[in-house]
């Protein structure tokens, strides 16, 4: 084992930068390069998943069936969710963790660099597996297409697919292995590799939120793996875990799935909380209000996320006691979440703010994510959920928390750190265009879906009653506007990262930026902090926790 530890310290010979393209990118053990790979992978997946979303919205533009077969429509909704959750949002956060955590805690690299390489390179294979049945069907007319039973994979429906079931389950296992290894690396890096003097309670909030997220991942990814392994044996190996005819219970799948699924939604939002907690103090030029409260609120949210799962299955026929427990437990989450929102607002209160693009996205996050939180609270009310469940109201809810929440934070983080990563300042005017177009269209896209849901339009259907026509039309227009706005984002990233076009970024980049990463050059050297930096509390963003 000690042998292993020695071997993981790859880096000595890489400093000359004379590595071949293959060695640098495919055999990379450098946290910055692997971070870049994750982020680029995520961007590609964001556009693939976005294309699927546009197929959905194009079909729903007007009532009636016009563009795609209902079966294909179902494949689009299923694959859109799987690609966005596991391909876009999660890898983006892992990429940000890779880039930022070692620099933020003053470590030379992630703790296990070779495992880090493996975590990333599993993903392209996993997503090839996931997409293959769909690609075969859509482009070559072979087979029956991808999974179509919804991303939640409820049996018996999900098992009625063809061989794509095996592909999907194999892909999910691989993604799980990748996420678990990524999480292990984050935990080992934060717990063991911090520079001397970087106490846990001096770490940037982003590191804290990621540490807690990593524990969530380790706790629930094996649960998802267990659930899908049982699906696999039910389909191909004659077991009856979820088959009532064989003595199994399909509702048990839902319990196991959501025991993973609810913590999973927090896996996708806790790092976002961390990012926003970095950005707001920088542009408010004021330390984060209530640093410790933020850390404890994150930990309480993580704890509570394990005891609320059945709010996704209120209508399945649980005993009244169960309904009440899960209703009140869910509502409790609003307390630590509220603490966070108030702390962000208090940080901005009477501060000297400026609104560069990262700040715009961060403030947009605070406002729009909170709308998603409110609709969540409505869904938590059992009798109300009996009406809202499986309608577009749920779709509106989770897109507010995921698009204007998780995705907005990823956009904010990209604008915030892109000059640090590339050494090139992005085009601020284009960034503002991207923000404002996105923010207008995302609301045109998702706000009407609340009304559709309240009026009773079910989710996951390719056709609908003419009564729903107007709001669907508006929503589809918003979707295409939002999609087009993202091309600006891609162009901005390409300009900085690949064309090197733009003003040269200073080391500090932002007037109010604090923390170790800003003491490095822009772009930072290939290897940073090989000798641990000396920590000087007043230079840290959150060094003085008495705030």
């Amino acid at each position: 084992m000690a042998e292993h530890a020695t071997h993981d310290t790859h880096d000595e010979h890489h400093d000359d930068h004379q590595q071949s393209f293959f060695m640098r990118w495919f055999c990379s053990t450098n946290h910055k390069d692997i971070g870049t790979l994750y982020l680029l992978f995520s961007l590609v997946m964001f556009f693939i998943g976005g294309f699927m979303a546009l197929v959905i919205r194009a079909e729903l533009f007007v009532p009636g069936l016009q563009l795609v077969h209902p079966e294909f429509f179902n494949q689009m909704t299923t694959m859109h969710a799987l690609v966005m959750i596991f391909g876009a949002v999660m890898p983006a956060f892992v990429g940000l963790a890779n880039w930022m955590i070692p620099m933020m805690v003053g470590a030379p690299d992630m703790a296990l660099p070779r495992m880090n390489n493996w975590s990333f390179w599993i993903l392209p294979f996993a997503f090839t597996m996931l997409l293959l049945p769909l690609i075969q069907y859509a482009f070559f007319g072979v087979g029956a297409g991808g999974p179509a039973g919804g991303w939640t994979l409820y049996p018996p429906l999900s098992l009625q697919g063809g061989n794509n079931v095996a592909f999907t389950i194999f892909a999910i296992h691989m993604m799980g292995v990748s996420s678990i290894m990524g999480a292990i690396n984050v935990i080992a890096t934060i717990l063991n590799m911090r520079a001397p003097g970087m106490d846990l309670l001096k770490m940037p909030v982003f590191c804290w939120t990621w540490l807690i997220t990593a524990f969530l991942l380790i706790a629930v990814m094996p649960v998802l793996a267990g659930a899908v392994t049982m699906l696999l044996t039910d389909k191909f190996f004659l077991t009856s875990f979820f088959n009532a005819a064989g003595g199994g219970d399909p509702v048990m799948f839902q319990h196991i799935f959501w025991f993973f699924g609810h913590p999973e939604v927090y896996i996708m939002i806790l790092p976002a909380f961390g990012i926003v907690s970095e950005i707001i103090p920088t542009f408010a030029r004021k330390p984060l209000f209530g640093y410790q409260a933020m850390v404890y609120a994150t930990a309480s949210i993580a704890f509570l996320s394990f005891i609320v799962w059945a709010h996704h299955m209120f209508t399945v026929g649980m005993p009244l006691g169960g309904e009440l427990f899960f209703m009140y437990a869910t509502m409790l989450i609003a307390v630590p979440t509220g603490v966070k929102v108030f702390n962000w607002v208090s940080t901005m209160w009477k501060s000297s703010m400026t609104f560069e693009t990262p700040m715009l996205f961060a403030v947009g996050f605070v406002i729009l994510f909170t709308i998603g939180g409110f609709s969540g609270l409505m869904l938590a009310i059992v009798p109300a959920d009996f009406q809202y469940h499986d309608t577009y109201f749920v779709v509106a809810h989770f897109h507010y928390v995921l698009v204007t929440g998780a995705i907005y934070s990823i956009m904010a983080a990209t604008y915030y750190w892109l000059p640090k990563w590339t050494g090139v300042m992005y085009n601020e005017a284009l960034g503002k265009w991207h923000f404002w177009l996105s923010t207008i269209f995302v609301n045109v896209l998702f706000f009407p879906q609340h009304f559709l849901g309240l009026a009773g339009m079910p989710r996951r259907i390719p056709d609908y009653n003419v009564a729903f026509a107007d709001f669907n039309l508006i929503s589809s227009i918003g979707a295409f506007g939002f999609g087009l706005a993202q091309l600006i984002f891609a162009w901005i990233v390409i300009q900085c990262a690949f064309l090197g076009r733009g003003a040269k970024a200073t080391d500090h980049v932002w007037e109010g930026s604090k923390g170790l990463e800003w003491t490095l050059s822009s772009p930072p050297p290939h290897h940073s902090f090989s000798t641990p930096p000396v920590i000087n509390d007043k230079d840290l963003a959150h060094g003085d926790v008495t705030h």
């Binding site: 310290t9 400093d15 703790a111 380790i218 094996p222 649960v223 267990g226 290897h527």
Partner: protein
Amino acid sequence: MTSPTKPADQSASPAEDPRRSAALRTAIIMGLVALGIYGAFFLRAILNS
């Protein structure tokens, strides 16, 4: 703060960094926890069969 902007210091070989063996221990423990949670499902299934 030292000047971390200077190129990586070659003299401190990360290979001798004692933090790495501690990190490996953390990693193995977390890996076993994950495997244990996954395995628990099948232990139960086998015991029930």
